[in-house]
Point group: C2
Chain length 225, copies 2
Amino acid sequence: MLSAGLPEGAMPKLERPGPLRERVYEALLELITTRALRPGQHLVESELAQHLGVSRQPVREALQRLNTDGWVDLRPAQGAFVHEPTEEEADQLLTVRTLLEAEAARLAALNAKAEGIADLEALCRRGEAAVGGDEVETVVEANAAFHARVMGLAGNAVLAELARQVDRRVRWYYTPVARQRGAQSWIEHRELIAAIADGDGERATAVMREHTEHTRRSYHERPRS
Amino acid sequence: MLSAGLPEGAMPKLERPGPLRERVYEALLELITTRALRPGQHLVESELAQHLGVSRQPVREALQRLNTDGWVDLRPAQGAFVHEPTEEEADQLLTVRTLLEAEAARLAALNAKAEGIADLEALCRRGEAAVGGDEVETVVEANAAFHARVMGLAGNAVLAELARQVDRRVRWYYTPVARQRGAQSWIEHRELIAAIADGDGERATAVMREHTEHTRRSYHERPRS
DNA sequence: ACTCCGTAGACTGTATCCAATAGCCAGAAC
DNA sequence: GTTCTGGCTATTGGATACAGTCTACGGAGT
């Protein structure tokens, strides 16, 4: 018990690196989402280990998790390959996302307090500013943050965990085409905030469903690379 | 290319054990779901390894996956503990399950062919027979098989994967109280089949939602152990 | 009664070693 | 010339050993 009157925030909270496998996981995920490792590419444990400056063990464990999370395909006795998304899979993913996000919006509308609403508005402003700056990376990130906050307001940890996984992959597929849907997306976010602020679960669901379905359609209409 | 006229089914398909970590994962999951390993119990890698007759390596990887799937809690530098479900978490899980299953029912109604309907009826008969026999284990399994088949008819692999994880945990929480909801559950299954056979997505959704909400309520009304 | 270590138990990460397997290619058989 | 076989290689899968570090527990001292 800190008997001395140390202010809580003053503790430097000395940086705990966390398990190495986690950091390797994040590092590889970063490389995949940024397209530094391209879909279909063969990942060799020993190469990755050497490149990251760790032993094979943490790399193996990270690859296993990436496999179960759908980021890489682990072919037995041959190695790991960066997952290649198919048209059908992307569509299914976006469908599920619509489902999860719509439910989250409904729950958020029922649970949200004034503080949460304020957070959403702040995030919305940040997103709109990013759209003005035309930086795709920042826009996508702000969008993810906004949706994550809505999910947080829903107060369902299980739902949030599923959505986290799904959203991250959606973000991967979607980033290349995010530019198209700039300003319109944030107008819809405003509508969503209004519905949540009114505590209107039905409307929040409808708005969110409409919003994510827009995203889904704009994915299918994307320019082929 | 099998030029000889070997019948496809004749190949014994010699048993491939598959990766050891998978088998360890399944073995541990079996031990957890059957309550041989009780919630809160401390799992020591070396003990498990010795007990299963493998080295620590596969055990570690299996524990990691069990951790990400929510079956065990991995406390740093201390070890793995069988997850202890809380009231709130069970409720959230059942809520999410309702969401996923309802969507699956809708999609199944839109996609199902005659063959799928027949499968559902067969599974339903099997379940009803099990209820008659009053064997909780068999009933729960038949129930899982039925829901899994509905999910298969929905034809959304991503949705199915999420539901598989959620359902397995729901099953864990729910098994102790499954006895209460015997016959009624299968009557509702019949209704669901009818809705799917009619291709009525709205009704299928409603029936499934009602069905899983029944389950949720009966969970909360369960006798405390 | 409270605090302060000391120690044991357990995980984390590293380094090797060996076995099994998929893919590939060269070469023999027809 | 085509096909099949056999071996070679790269890589993973699994086992084992070992050092470092963290946690919790308990006993000694105040």
